[in-house]
Symmetry: D2
């Protein structure tokens, strides 16, 4: 049994991580930390998740005594120093923030000066469908963003065959995080849809890294749903591609993937809620390839994928605790 | 005072039409008809709209005695014969179906053999922002589809300057109509988003007609909202276009439009609910022009626009009854 | 034309008040104030309301120069001093807070020491269906709470005939106000219902004042709706009452009320959204009288009713600006 | 391993039953039947449940060959003959309809002439918290209604101590069943709340049976939530009861119940979604005892409870497959 702690378990992503790990048959959840909610019980904040632990202030020494692995669910910038302190104490880490997803130049262009650049060399981008083998041997894995996960699963089988892609994301309010803001107020979000970050969303950097050479347009939209994210991708192939050929590429890419399901009709986010599954649909309309991917933004888009990474890193069955 | 009847006032679009006309200062609503709900009172079906009339079976002679103009809100194919019977009796007609929006060839490619092709010559595509002068003198106006309205308002200022455009539509459930189906069941629609008609939606024919020469991808998505529709358009200009230049094109196009508002930030459908307004935002990201338009699918996307057309046809102030 | 200012127009209630007054044919909206949002434009905060004014810091002298009447929409306790400063300058006031609804003893039992007790003598409880004549001549009117309004409209015709009543309130999230909190976060509110203030909600004090001698149980519940409030009342009559007799009492009470509609089937909040109407249904089951009232909590439950009061105070038609 | 079939697995309740049983460690799900959807795959109708079986027409002989136990999820009246045919073939049955919950007289008063009255003698009312020992030895168990389950869990600890109770139910749309109707249309249900069956709902018969001597008022309300049900109960005790005494009664009643959790604050349906748990809160306000119970209407209110019953009947751990 591996001992795992969740750093930042009061946010939506970390909380789901704690909930999954608490039930994981090969893992013991040995601690949960929080910044502003330290002292409260996790199951008071999230009764549905039933994690019977008290949230602690983050103390890397205390965590290192009790855990061999950490799932870090801090916001970007705050994550890097926490990850460093855990890596210095020998823990393997899966980090859910953006801090270790990109190379330094790209990171500093989209975010800010990096807080722990010396760790970038060892970090692996934690999309198992693209980097499974590196994840197995990694000690630091950067779990992809929710938008990027869905977009990449919709586009990876076309890698090397497309010149440009429009990625139109529809995301639930849980993606905006637990902070209560004007935007996340029920009265703002209900009966509404709006694009945001129309001039450029940082997640596009992950797409450019994983699908080099593709010209992206990338716009997320906020919807009145709770958990769920749909990526609608409109790609222009370099060479004409028939529907059958496109589907065959996707079939080959995903036939042995445990969490990606190629389906025969447009995906519904509702069908993958509270699961680590991604459903993908591909078709061709005119000279464009249209592909769609539905995930739960907190599962396959965050904590579920992080546990999938963690299973790989620990040599456990990849789906353990996730089905 | 003009006497107007609404044919098909039990559906969502026709019902809003009746509600608007009932309060219109220069119009008397002299009759409302329905197919399966004839005999019931309109304000029993739609208490919020407070139209104190009984729904009648459609009888063109009876309508012609009481009305000079008709707003027809039947489904396509059923609309054409009803429109013909009213035109034969001399009524001016605004039709909300697809039956008179396209030329015969295009219509029959996307829909079915046309039921009243002899009327196609006189019908005008009822998007005031594109065809105001023809609408003024028309006796038969085809009110555009909701998807087409939003997409066209987002793209018309780029007419002649773009080669292709991805149009990603997000639409509320009222757009699917009043019929109770598995798709419109609350339990199917809530906490969900899904694309549909991914292999080709008929509304693209209206885009191709109004913006000839543009290569479109067009996919609608169903969201758990009630009334509201957002078109997100990603266009590739033939010649590079700066953000300022793009905004200037839009400014010129819409500065004197009474119902189109060019705004400085991404539009929210919630802000135009229950109004005939369209909010439009344009920006440039990389070498693409991104434009977004939010409307209420039952107002500017259907009945509100039909009344706007009707005001033009009757020589009334264009905004009368709509503000 | 009467000149009216809205004090506290950035909150949900005050904002609706400003929106109504802006369109009121006999009123000029001469100012809107806000505490933390002063300096921002009202139509930036609430684009849908289209009030083209800048929010100012509250300055009673400046307001008194421009307005003869004020609608005050501050939270309780903050309202009383603002009301005093306006009354000292001769303005008539409709106050939406709880500060002037109760006598001092009752207020101080449920709330806190009163900030302006000297004004309690002149204030009138602003439920027109109960106190229309006093409102006409009042210079300070306390607009009732949303819960109290619905409960009272459901119970007033039984005044003097019931011993006890269970009042079970279902209220939309806008009732919790504009502040972004854990409770109003979309992810907390959606797909949820919960009772709150189960040990006693302050609005019961208004019920006890208006229906003396009745033993109340009163529990509000929060629902994932935006605007809307339903009071379900279960009253035990002192003397047996038939369904017909109960309905007759309600018919007499409400037959000439402009905003209360006695209906023949259970009310739906959706049918009164964005209106000042209340729909009321009464029936008898066993030996209990069951009555239900649906309102829009921000209209008849707050700002709409305040304007109704204001119309009465100014000698205007009671429904002006509200239909 | 026990072999179980679900009769009527296309409806919401039966579908959840199939989903639970499919994952139950001591049960093999050997068949699922449907009336109008026979021939379709269950996981096509309910992709999220991932039950990889084809829906069959109901054939009791075919079922009897493959199953020792059946969970019957037909509507009332249709259930009784199906149950009889299975009992005749020796299968143990848990029935989710109302057909075997009441004695004949009560049933025929609220429903219609009974289709299989000879089985009423052997049926047990399947609320484990009230009849656990009889359920263990029963061969036919009638799983309680969703409204009744929540109301009874909120009131059972007060059995013998109360004279009357107002039961105000708030229920999600899934409780109205899978049929697409005007009432279940998204556009009718969203942003709405309404009471229904105000003149008497049949579920009150179950309350009267389980809590004899109590005078009930019972009104359900439809809310825009998916799965979830809250019972708010306002009971008048025969003898005064303090809050502590009331809580002690509840504590004793539920301290060893595996699925009923007595909590310290008002329950939220969201916290018990997709679980078989019931959260109960009790307080005293004035001379009334107020108690609240939140459940998932499809789990503890239907299929989850049916599996709980089935575990008891089969001598399995009561919580198996349900946590």
């Amino acid at each position: 049994v591996h001992r795992v702690a969740v750093i930042g378990a009061a946010g939506f992503g970390g909380a789901v991580g704690a909930a999954i790990l608490r039930r994981h048959p090969s893992i013991e959840l040995t601690g949960v930390t929080a910044r502003s909610d330290a002292g409260r019980r996790h199951d008071e904040l999230y009764p549905a998740y039933r994690v019977p632990l008290q949230l602690e202030q983050f103390d890397p020494d205390a965590i290192a005594e009790r855990a061999d692995v950490a799932l870090v669910a801090y916001p970007h910038k705050a994550a890097a120093p926490a990850v460093r302190s855990l890596r210095e104490r020998g823990l393997k880490v899966v980090d859910l923030s953006a801090d270790f997803r990109l190379d330094r130049e790209s990171y500093e262009r989209w975010y800010q000066p990096h807080e722990a650049p010396e760790l970038l060399g060892e970090s692996v981008y934690g999309l198992p469908e693209a980097h499974r083998e590196q994840i197995r041997t990694a000690e630091l894995v950067a779990s992809p963003g929710c938008n990027s996960t869905a977009a990449l699963l919709a586009l990876l089988p076309l890698r090397g065959r497309i010149d440009d892609a429009v990625v139109d994301i529809k995301t639930g309010v849980s993606g905006a995080g637990r902070e209560a803001t004007e935007e996340t107020h029920f009265v703002s979000a209900t009966d509404n849809v709006n694009p945001y970050k129309t001039e450029g969303h940082r997640h596009v950097a992950e797409l450019e890294q994983e699908l080099p050479g593709v010209r992206f347009a990338f716009v997320p939209h906020l919807l009145p749903i709770d958990q769920g994210l749909l990526a609608s991708c409109y790609a222009t192939p370099s060479e004409p591609l028939t529907r059958d050929a496109a589907r065959e590429l996707f079939r080959q890419a995903y036939e042995s993937e445990p969490f990606v399901e190629l389906i025969d009709k447009p995906p519904h986010t509702r069908d993958v809620r509270f699961t680590n599954r991604a459903t993908v649909y591909v078709t061709v309309a005119g000279d464009r390839v249209l592909s769609f991917c539905a995930i739960d933004n907190l599962w396959k888009g965050a904590a579920g994928q992080a546990v999938q990474d963690l299973n790989l890193m620990l040599g456990l069955p990849e789906t353990e605790g996730l089905t």
